[in-house]
Symmetry: C2
Subunit: 176 residues, 2 copies
Amino acid sequence: MKKQTKGLVIINTGQGKGKTTAGLGLLLRAWGQGLRPCVIQFVKAGTGRWGEVKAAEKLGVEWHKLGDGFTWKSKDSGEGIAKALHGWEIAKEKIASGEYDLIVLDEFTYTMHFEWLNTSEVIDWLKANKPSELHLVITGRYAPEALIDYADLVTEMTNIKHPFDKGIKGQRGIEF
Amino acid sequence: MKKQTKGLVIINTGQGKGKTTAGLGLLLRAWGQGLRPCVIQFVKAGTGRWGEVKAAEKLGVEWHKLGDGFTWKSKDSGEGIAKALHGWEIAKEKIASGEYDLIVLDEFTYTMHFEWLNTSEVIDWLKANKPSELHLVITGRYAPEALIDYADLVTEMTNIKHPFDKGIKGQRGIEF
């Protein structure tokens, strides 16, 4: 008997740490199980210094950074916005392809929070096009209420204590 | 000029998901940066079915499961407790060795919450023996207040929505 898989829509939100890293942990777990993961990163700059990007390369995990393959098309919106919209085009293609078991849309919430994308349109598109077995992980602060309603698993990360409060700077292998 | 590193004590606690996976994400990030990570798992059973254990094997990351190398020594405590105490002995050896840049003590909080270990003694030992550059990640519910006081970065994971509420079962690559 084939085991039934229900692709979950997972959101990691809140002001605290651990939203992206928990997504990376799911990626590692899925990769360890022989599943096919993919990451689309919406906000962080693609300098290549990030530990997770280097790791993904070594693991052979497909990873799309903000602005990858981007060509300027719009005169009406800022470059950052246009890149994020381009990221959503890539995401839609990857989601609809059926070639992945788990896709992480890192920091995707901001595109809706800042209204670069219309939340209802995103949800309607996902309802119509996300393969039922695909797990989708969305990270970032300010997850819209409608997206939370649509999701299966939503976790809020809250800072109880943060080293930046003590003047300790971001460090290689921890913050990036 | 050598870049100053301050080894952080990081706690992921709370009732929500993402505590262990955020630790795994830090492990992946650190591994990607060429740092030397190690995991000691205190509670989950070592069946070998876990995606993260399979992944760690493939990455060449040292991973100690509960009960690894355990030999029965105590008649006074249950086997589970004795295994956890044995895990702490392994953890102390790895922490003090100076051979790692990041060590994850997964689900370690329970050993203190259930008073198998004395929280003050654990903290005193860490203060005296943890190399200053070593990052230590501790996960699990019910992190003791004294441990939170000692830590540099503490995040609480809270469930906003959970698929088990809807009767969806744990799935390969997501829950394990």
